[in-house]
């Protein structure tokens, strides 16, 4: 592309911003010296660029700072977990968990006291046994009599 056919206007903004390499900047200056339209455009662009420095600046509200900093200062879930599980708590918790596990395991292995058939019979017929005592009876034959009386009295009860 020759200097005559090249669109130098494309280079003007970068030229004004000082962003062209020295060689291209020099070529632009040579064109500006001879091209009146290009020079006029360069002046308009330069004025626009300098005007941008006078555009009123937006100032953030003070609530933004409070809002952002309060969000980052709030501990994350991971931090809360780490804070909660201090070494002391962790050891204590592990000890408690071990004890609970042990209790469950031992409980599962030990079914508890086993009742003899006699004890079981007594437990099931506690009312009859109490009546035997009440009547002053001691023999086992009397048991059937008292049990029958018991059944009769229960049948009479409305």
């Amino acid at each position: 592309m020759t200097p005559q056919t090249r669109d130098w206007s494309e280079e003007l903004t970068a030229y004004i911003d000082g962003e062209l390499d020295p060689e291209t900047a020099k070529a632009v200056e040579e064109q500006l010296a001879t091209d009146v339209k290009l020079k006029a455009l360069e002046q308009q662009l330069r004025r626009t660029v300098s005007l941008m420095a006078t555009v009123p600046a937006l100032e953030p509200s003070s609530s933004l700072r409070r809002s952002v900093l309060s969000k980052v200062e709030a501990p994350t879930l991971g931090e809360r977990v780490r804070t909660f599980f201090t070494p002391g708590r962790l050891v204590g918790g592990l000890a408690l968990a071990s004890m609970a596990t042990l209790a469950v395991v031992v409980g599962a292995r030990d079914p508890g006291p086993v009742l003899s058939e006699e004890q079981l019979f007594l437990a099931q017929n506690m009312e009859v046994v109490e009546d035997l005592d009440l009547l002053g009876l001691e023999r086992s034959d009397d048991f059937d009599v008292v049990a029958s009386l018991h059944e009769l009295s229960e049948g009479e009860t409305p």
């Binding site: 941008m52 009123p56 953030p60 509200s61 609530s63 809002s67 952002v68």
Partner: protein
């Protein structure tokens, strides 16, 4: 690529080690830039601040995996650009942009005046200029808008903008040129309108 380990990069590394103070320093340094950048995409301060909040939270969460392979500002603006482009693609902000432009023209609290103080005429010119910029940006592509904002309002070099946009410097040069021409045309239209209405902007 080797880059100088600047203060921001050092702070960001500290953030990665869990320092909230370092994050607060980074936030204070860059919050205005990020809010202004977001504002150019969504057109209202409230929405821009919501986006900025998301961006800083993302920055905080990414700190552990941060490696200073580029300038910190380039890294920050890459997060900001991706977030803004995703948001703009998700929703229709064109209406908000016009709404924001109108609101700004009527609301001096949104567009803060320079500390030195301006005369009412100068302040009005500033807001009219802002309107011209907003109008021009409405007709820009998303990448032109991002490149223009980073160049004109953040003073970033073409090379850094190219890194932010994952693009070539040559492509960025074209984006910025086209965007600047569009703003120039809007400014000219503004000046022509003011001249026709009997006011001078000289």
């Amino acid at each position: 690529m080797s880059v100088p380990f600047d203060d921001d990069s050092r702070l960001m590394t500290q953030v990665g080690r869990g320092s909230r103070e370092a994050f607060a320093s980074l936030f204070d340094r860059h919050q205005a830039s990020v809010v202004r950048f977001c504002y150019r995409f969504v057109g209202t301060q409230a929405r821009a601040e919501e986006l900025a909040q998301d961006i800083f939270i993302k920055l905080f969460r990414s700190a552990k995996s941060y490696h200073p392979s580029a300038k910190f500002k380039t890294y920050l603006f890459r997060i900001a650009t991706n977030h803004c482009l995703n948001e703009v693609r998700r929703g229709d902000y064109k209406h908000e942009q016009l709404e924001g432009a109108t609101m700004n023209a009527e609301s001096p609290s949104v567009l803060e005046r320079e500390p030195g103080g301006e005369s009412p005429d100068q302040a009005l010119e500033g807001r009219e200029l802002e309107l011209a910029v907003v109008k021009a940006m409405g007709s820009m592509s998303e990448r032109e808008r991002a490149a223009f904002t980073m160049c004109r309002f953040e003073g970033m070099a073409y090379r850094d903008i190219a890194q932010t946009l994952s693009s070539s410097e040559s492509a960025v040069k074209s984006l910025i040129h086209r965007a600047t021409v569009q703003v120039m045309q809007q400014v000219e239209a503004l000046q022509a309108g003011l001249t026709n209405s009997g006011r001078s902007v000289a």
